[in-house]
């Protein structure tokens, strides 16, 4: 993140937009985001003043905040000495953990899409419209998707189509259709295409039967062809320049509401059920007896209680059994797993239980989210979003060390960059889970042993506690990183 150079968050003249703005907030001329003293502010340009005032005066802001669809903010007092073009600085409520669409499971993307459409619907009722529809503007706050870009609004001009329609289809509709009809893993296309999935690509990847579904036919297949047809500009195909004020060049408010309604119906009809998951039966197939498993839970709870404050990252969280322990302790918790089905189940479970402190996300730790976009800085890598106060790495190390051939020293080094405290489980080679991993391959891991594990992790961490779990041969360690001493 880029630190702000301003001397005053209320718009002091030393704010320099080129250096102060966060790397993801440079596209919109209406303002930018900057960080000062660990707080995140949004600087609003005077050209946006009328629109901002309408957002407040029309009641839209209050309505959206009441419905938990827009991040609430506080207006900072204005200074006498304002920087050029400055209108207002606001202090939005901070999101505990910024996540990206390619890290969301199916139902999270669906919820974010539905929330976006609900916002647009409310906008139209207040003579406003969403001027952009980036999925990156939606974040999960207390378990619900919320719009974090307070400058995403524009005044609605009667007769004008929705400027963000293309972006909505590329950021939400196409990925949802692909996840629902083709393969849930195609959400990863969002990693490559920062402005959403190209519609011609989505159309090519969708099965033929989607031509029979009206919403997909119109908003993806025909939309893709329309984009291609008009790619060289409208005038070339249709002739003369448009004449301002022509009554035939309009999209009525009713049609716009119909479009939003149609898109909402399309989003709600997309379904995906995790039919089988790599880890679905994991808890049933471990070497734990009921008593030993209960002791593991109790051990994790006790260690979490005395661990470093801040967020908990549960690495390899599966369906979130241990994340829930952290959540119940009041810790903001991110539950990472590489399996979209496990994350889906975890998310649905969180909704069912009303657990708002847990954010399940799809993350492959052997290839964690990288910095992407302009200068590789628009979207943060996983490490940039840390370090977490505490990482849980339970029943994980053998997958990294044996399935992925990552040596202990590298695992320890990586973990020391993403957390201060670490609660980690060592699974011995004699464990059936490890034996299963070795069953189809040569054992080239003579160094996979408890003493080597302890030696390597001791280079990066101070070890506090070692708890041997009965009947399983597994060991849980509580550690604090040495890197954090600096």
């Amino acid at each position: 993140m880029t630190e702000a150079s301003s001397s005053s968050p209320s718009g002091g003249r030393t704010i320099d937009a080129r250096t102060a703005s966060l790397s993801a907030s440079f596209r919109d001329p209406s303002g930018f985001v900057f960080v000062k003293d660990g707080r995140l502010y949004r600087w609003i340009h005077e050209s946006y003043a009328d629109t901002y005032r309408h957002l407040r005066v029309s009641g839209l802001y209050d309505e959206l905040v009441k419905r938990q669809l827009l991040i609430p903010h506080e207006e900072m007092p204005r200074n006498a000495a304002q920087s050029a073009g400055h209108y207002l600085t606001i202090l939005p409520e901070r999101i505990p953990f910024v996540s990206y669409p390619y890290e969301w499971c199916f139902s999270q993307l669906k919820a974010a899409a539905a929330a976006t459409l609900e916002i647009q619907h409310l906008c139209l009722q207040h003579d406003m419209t969403l001027k952009d529809c980036s999925a990156y503007n939606m974040q999960f706050r207390a378990g619900k998707p919320v719009l974090i870009d307070t400058l995403s609004f524009d005044r609605y001009a009667e007769g004008r189509p929705w400027a963000a329609y293309r972006q909505f289809c590329q950021h939400f509709l196409a990925p949802l259709a692909l996840m629902s009809y083709t393969d849930v893993r195609l959400n990863q296309l969002s990693r490559i295409y920062i402005d959403g999935c190209p519609l011609d690509l989505a159309a090519a990847l969708l099965p033929l039967r989607t031509w029979l579904r009206m919403s997909v036919l119109l908003h993806i297949h025909v939309h893709a062809k329309s984009q291609r047809y008009f790619s060289t500009g409208v005038e070339r195909h249709l002739g003369s320049e448009p004449k301002p004020g022509s009554s035939r060049r309009r999209m009525s408010r009713k049609a716009l509401l119909g479009l939003i309604d149609q898109l909402m119906t399309a989003v709600q009809k997309f379904t995906w059920s995790p039919k089988g998951t790599q880890w679905a039966d994991y808890y049933d197939e471990t070497n734990y007896s009921d008593g030993a498993f209960e002791q593991k839970r109790e051990t994790v709870r006790r260690l979490l209680e005395r661990s470093a404050p801040g967020m908990v990252w549960d690495l390899g969280a599966n369906t979130g059994l241990f994340s829930r322990i952290a959540g119940k302790l009041g810790r903001d918790t991110v539950a990472f797993d590489m399996d979209p089905a496990a994350v889906e189940r975890n998310y649905l479970e969180c909704l069912k239980r009303g657990e708002t402190g847990i954010l399940p996300l799809v993350m492959d730790l052997t290839n964690p989210s990288a910095g992407t976009g302009w200068e590789n800085r628009e979207r943060m890598s996983l490490a940039e979003r840390g370090p977490a106060g505490t990482c849980l790495a339970l029943a994980l190390v053998h997958h990294l060390a044996i399935s992925n051939n990552v040596p202990f020293d590298r695992i320890a080094a990586f973990f020391s960059t993403i957390c201060r405290d670490l609660i980690i489980e060592f699974v011995p080679k004699s464990d059936s889970q490890v034996q299963r991993l070795l069953s189809a391959r040569e054992d080239i891991f003579p160094g996979y042993a408890r003493d080597v594990f302890e030696t390597e992790f001791s280079r990066n961490f101070h070890m506090h506690e070692t708890i041997e779990l009965p009947e399983s041969g597994r060991v849980i360690y509580s550690m604090t990183r040495k890197l954090g001493e600096a």
Partner: protein, 71 residues
């Protein structure tokens, strides 16, 4: 694909005035996306009207209070 292009050729012939006003958005709305909305507006609007009307009929028979249309 000639058959796929037919609707667009028809549109080009029948609706030469359906060229949008300049979109004053900082993101590119996309000419094709913009045009598609204009061209489909009539049908979308009609379908929406039918849906709202049908909703009212269902509400009437269910004995629910008539709700204000969503516009």
């Amino acid at each position: 694909m000639p058959s796929g292009a037919i609707p667009f050729v028809a549109v080009a012939v029948l609706l030469p005035a359906a060229i949008p006003n300049q979109a004053l958005a900082y993101i590119d709305p996309g000419a094709g996306s913009y045009m598609l909305q204009l061209l489909a507006a009539g049908a979308i609007s009609a379908l929406f009207a039918v849906k709202v009307f049908w909703g009212r009929i269902k509400a009437f028979f269910k004995g629910e209070t008539d709700k204000e249309p969503e516009n």
